[in-house]
């Protein structure tokens, strides 16, 4: 799903400086039964209104003869707006090497652009085909804590037929994905990573967050933590 380019040269990061084209990311999973408790916790931590999340994500891949290497691009359609809005997103390689190993979040190249509604037609015309698509349904919080951080909690759903959003079913019933992301630049990525990392510690009782593709499973004591949050509406410190 992600382009895994080689990207461990720090000097290259500075070329991207003017484009603010990186992000810090962690992910985790949580049982659906504990999502309400997580929402209460997030509401208390973030201090902002939660936003509904309903995003149709289409992953397109270049055809066999296009480009010297194959490439992928994601089209995101926000279905929660009165009029669906589209974004094109390119996710590049993650930082590697000793520097990256010392950071507990993934730092990777990422560029996105809002686009008008013809994006799918255009990329199809350019030789990109649909590889897979998902529907993410849940909620998100967007707030500032040293960095601009976004936390989303969503069920990931697959479609039995192409673009059949209304027939989407969960990929992992009973489990939801927690994503924490923050945009970064080559100049500030370590600060942003530290902000994300520090924020994630508050969520530890309910969900363990780590670099994507390095799954650590659910938190075994989440049930107790959730019960505590639900019993007093989140007023008790964990």
């Amino acid at each position: 799903m992600y382009s895994r380019g080689r990207w461990c040269d720090f000097t290259k990061y500075f070329e991207l400086k003017k484009n603010n084209s990186m992000e810090c990311v962690v992910q985790g999973i949580i049982e659906t039964q504990h999502v309400e408790a997580l929402e209460i916790l997030l509401q208390g931590l973030c201090g902002v209104q939660r936003e509904r999340l309903r995003v149709h994500e289409l992953c397109l891949k270049s055809g066999p003869s296009l480009g010297n290497v194959s490439s992928e691009v994601r089209l995101l359609c926000d279905l929660d707006q009165p009029e669906p809005t589209w974004t094109v997103k390119h996710v590049g390689g993650a930082m590697r090497g000793p520097g990256a190993d010392q950071i507990s979040v993934m730092v990777r190249a990422m560029v996105e652009s809002k686009v008008s509604k013809n994006a799918l037609r255009m990329f199809n015309a350019l030789g990109y085909k649909l590889d897979h698509e998902l529907l993410k349904v849940g909620f998100a919080f967007h707030f500032q804590r040293t960095a601009n951080i976004s936390v989303s909690v969503s069920s990931v759903n697959k479609m039995p037929k192409v673009h059949a959003i209304d027939e989407a079913v969960p990929v992992t019933p009973g489990m939801q994905i927690v994503d924490v992301t923050a945009p970064a630049t080559p100049v500030n990525y370590s600060e942003v990573a530290a902000a994300v990392s520090s924020f994630c510690e508050f969520l530890a009782p309910l969900v363990h967050l780590s670099k994507p593709f390095i799954s650590t499973g659910v938190v075994p004591t989440a049930a107790a933590a959730a019960a505590s949050l639900m019993s007093d509406g989140g007023g008790t410190a964990l």
Binding site: S65, G67, V88, V111, N118, A125, L126
Partner: protein, 219 residues
């Protein structure tokens, strides 16, 4: 957004476009009391696919172009005219295209010149030059009618203005004329209310005509 027509200079058979014609056109605007406001610039890129196997070239569009418009500094527009596709994006889409490494800009052109206010009209006259050359490949003229954003409602006043313009320019006995191309915006999914996407499509069409003119001269 105000309605805009984009005209291009069509030289007479046997003559070519030059900076001299641009100077004459600019002077003509000033002679009908156009007030110079400053410079303007737009950039156009022709993209070609990078292919592992050249025999598949026909599968990919030959007229994929991108344009940044003077009015919209944070936006970028893609057009595939043959398939009637136009897309508006943030400027960051150019970085995405670079990172995909599937298409590369092979030809880049600037449209640049001066901008004038003339009553309720804004005019931009400019030359078309490759980015690393001063060789004038064409001349364009934007005519914008500021009070109206409906193309249908503005048609009459635009046509009347162009009559005045043609008459003023004809006194200079230049070897050619400015031409406006009508097109069916509905085919591109665009409506009567004018938008920057309309301008992007107009520029794509102007380029197609300019290329056809050059090819006809060479032929």
């Amino acid at each position: 957004m105000p309605v805009k027509w984009v005209l291009h200079w069509q030289p007479n058979q046997g003559s070519t476009v030059s900076s001299q014609i641009l100077n004459e056109a600019t002077q003509c605007v000033e002679s009908i009391n156009g007030v110079k406001e400053g410079r303007w610039k737009a950039t156009l890129n022709y993209y070609k696919p990078l292919l592992r196997d050249q025999t598949n070239q026909a599968e990919f569009p030959r007229d994929f172009l991108g344009i940044s418009l003077a009015d919209q500094p944070n936006k970028y527009y893609f057009i595939i005219r043959s398939q009637r596709i136009v897309l508006e994006a943030d400027s960051s889409i150019q970085l995405i295209m670079e990172r995909l490494q599937s298409y590369k800009s092979k030809v880049a052109l600037y449209f640049e010149g001066f901008q004038y206010q003339l009553g309720d009209f804004r005019l931009r006259v400019g030359k078309v030059v490759p980015t690393h050359s001063e060789n004038v490949r064409g001349i364009v003229m934007e005519v914008e009618y500021l009070p109206i954003s409906s193309m249908e409602k503005s048609r009459k006043v635009m046509e009347e203005f162009l009559e005045i313009w043609h008459e003023a320019l004809s006194k200079r006995s230049l070897p050619g004329k400015f031409v406006n191309i009508d097109l069916n915006f509905g085919e591109f999914g665009l409506g009567d209310n004018y938008t920057p996407q309309h301008t992007a499509v107009r520029y794509a069409l102007v380029m197609a005509h300019m290329i056809a003119t050059v090819q006809a001269v060479r032929g």
